[in-house]
Subunit: 406 residues, 2 copies
């Protein structure tokens, strides 16, 4: 195995000159241990948002190709500043854009996918004992057009580089200490996990945890890359994302998550006939909207209510589509309920243990919390409940499964 480690620092870790200098000191500390270091940086603090605002002042629907030209500058700025900060500490460092180090992507601007990475230039600089700093979130297509990778793109750059360079591991620095059994702002006794499996992390990300992006974990899983999530503000150990270990299988429930970003949509009085639901959801799918937690009530009158959840960003688009679809299938009015949240438990061991779902429902019942919708996956169970009961529910479940204890 190589001696290379990839470190990725998010926007909040490099928000101002002071923080940039702190990150530089951290990097140098690793360098002193003899590691070859490749650093991936995001844009400084709010730079990307500022650029987006500027663009929208000039043109409300800017071309995606020009958006990529514009926002890719954010990461270029932070790489150069970080290199300067490392130079000041007396160490050699060199910054690169995605184009310069050959991060080749397809041509889907603002949401490009990495095709391959030419590691020649990076290896050459590492051989000269330089710390290599690469702009995250960006690449270049085969006609040398600048592309960006979409949300969480810097995480993706980091694992992709870790794979291409056969790095020992990939460290994702962020503003939290790692992955917790529950949000520490809600559950005081939430415990930081030392390890979490790829699948649990993927489920967690899809359930609304923002710490590491789904695409990053998918790549890590596919190529078996160990990813460590840790804070750039402390020296705590963080959480390692890795394959599920035998020892881990003993743990049944790993964490409770809370997703406040979904809205419940109900189509009333839908004819209870074969093919009706299919028609409705086909329409929604055509609009590239992901729906979740679909529930159909038991029909008594030949008509039924059809409910599902969507993320808030897609609500307006969903309603337009669903209203038309309901009309077509002879359904009734469309109701929206924004006052809901989804609480979930997840854990790799869950599927082979009975009584887990029952435990969750009990915890909620004991606290007089009504369950409005339920859905399950291989490694998670989710319940939709009233928004005002969200914290109470998370705490009750955390207690029920004794997640504060290892």
């Amino acid at each position: 195995m190589s001696n290379i480690i990839v470190q990725k620092y998010g926007g909040s870790s490099v928000a101002d000159p002071k923080r940039i200098s702190r990150v530089a000191r951290r990097i140098v500390k690793y360098r002193q241990k003899g590691c070859d270091i490749v650093v991936v940086v995001s844009a400084l603090g709010d730079t990307t948002d500022d650029l987006l605002k500027l663009a929208h002042k000039v043109n409300r629907s800017p071309s995606e190709r020009e958006m990529d030209m514009l926002i890719s500058t954010g990461e270029q700025i932070s790489t150069a500043l970080l290199a300067m900060a490392i130079h000041k500490l007396g160490y050699e460092a060199i910054s690169f854009t995605g184009a310069q180090v050959g991060i080749i992507t397809d041509s889907r601007h603002t949401r490009a996918r990495i095709i391959k990475i030419n590691t020649g230039r990076i290896r050459k600089e590492l051989a000269k004992k330089k710390i290599v700093i690469v702009a995250g979130f960006q690449g270049v297509d085969l006609s040398r057009e600048i592309t960006t990778l979409g949300r969480g793109g810097s995480d993706l750059t980091a694992v992709a580089l870790a794979r291409a360079l056969r790095a020992k591991h990939c460290e994702i620095y962020t503003d939290v200490e790692g992955i917790y059994t529950a949000d520490p702002r809600i559950v005081r006794r939430a415990r930081k996990l030392e390890r979490i499996s790829y699948d649990e992390m993927l489920e967690m990300a899809s359930l609304g945890a923002q710490v590491v992006q789904v695409r990053c974990v998918q790549v890590a899983k596919r190529f078996n890359i160990r990813v460590i999530v840790r804070s750039s503000f402390s020296d705590e150990g963080g959480t390692m994302i890795s394959p599920a270990l035998k020892a881990m299988e003993k743990v049944v429930v790993s964490a409770v998550t809370l997703n406040r970003n979904e809205t419940k949509v109900t189509i009333r009085d839908v004819p209870d006939k074969p093919g009706v639901a299919a028609k409705v959801f086909k329409r929604i799918a055509e609009q590239e909207i992901n729906v979740d937690m679909i529930v159909q009530n038991i029909s008594r009158t030949g008509y039924t209510d059809l409910s599902f959840t969507v993320v808030k960003e897609n609500l307006a688009k969903t309603l337009r589509t669903v209203r038309k679809a309901s009309e077509q299938v002879g359904g009734g009015a469309v109701a929206v309920d924004k006052d809901i949240v989804r609480v979930s438990i997840l854990g790799v061991g869950m599927k082979s243990h009975s009584g887990i779902a029952a435990g969750m429902f009990e915890a909620l019942a004991e606290n007089k919390i009504n369950i409005e919708m339920i859905s399950t996956s291989e490694i998670s169970i989710s319940c939709v409940i009233r928004k005002r009961l969200a914290k109470k529910a998370v705490r009750a479940i955390h207690r029920k499964f004794k997640l504060d204890k290892k």
Copy 2:
């Protein structure tokens, strides 16, 4: 001749979204006339200064290679925004970095020189009837390192592109209407020149006029490219910089300039022996400081005073050097006089007309303005006078040579 025109817009012309949209409208107007348009843009307003400040907070002496990575983002931002603004008007446009359009430079970071421009990509986009927008001030060396061209680099990009594309002409848009017979803020009746020769413009730039940069005019002269200087805030015709025409030779004095950026340095009691001055100025030259207007008083006692001017930025460095040099040659104290300015007249016809210098001296004498130093070139005469008399001197000379009349 091609149908291509190159337009360059400076930072103040694209300082905010409103101005960017105005520039977009101007470009589209030319497009509607059927021209193929290549636009060169500088960074938005103070972007470059803001980036420099950020860099200096991280490292007081940042590496030049990283400086280029950093500040080249400024122009990339403005090109993307301008493309978006043109799209909004319903016209096709595409932005490029210096690297993308193949502006190849040497590797002297922060002051690179253009070696060649590969026009293939630009021509391809022009053929598709797109407006091509190129980031000014930047290029890329043969190892794909980002370089910048130094002060006034965007003007240089514009003329170099005009040359490479065999453009009809090159328009430099700025915040003034063109080149004047004197600074209109000083001389109310100053007249805008319709034409000025390359040589006059070069002399003017070296005498402190900031409108067009010296390197841009040098390239324009070398390749005989017509450059039009005009305002992006009005539809006035501007000033054309072109070869000297026969008709122009009748004009003797074209303009009066005022340079407030010089300081007079005097070394007292220098031994009046051969080789002494040479020794002093060799020392100064070794520090890469340009001195100007050297004057040596007539010696009466075997000792003489040696005076010269330097630009203010170089004063501290000059004094350190000159004090040492004076000691070595057995000279006396070094005096600094910051309260001086240089007024100059310039004109291609000047060298073949007698009485021009006399006219200038008369104008000053009539206004009781003492001349402290004099220097002459092929096409200019300069006098150093007291700073408080600067405006009076400029007005007197402007009147004397009737510069308000064509």
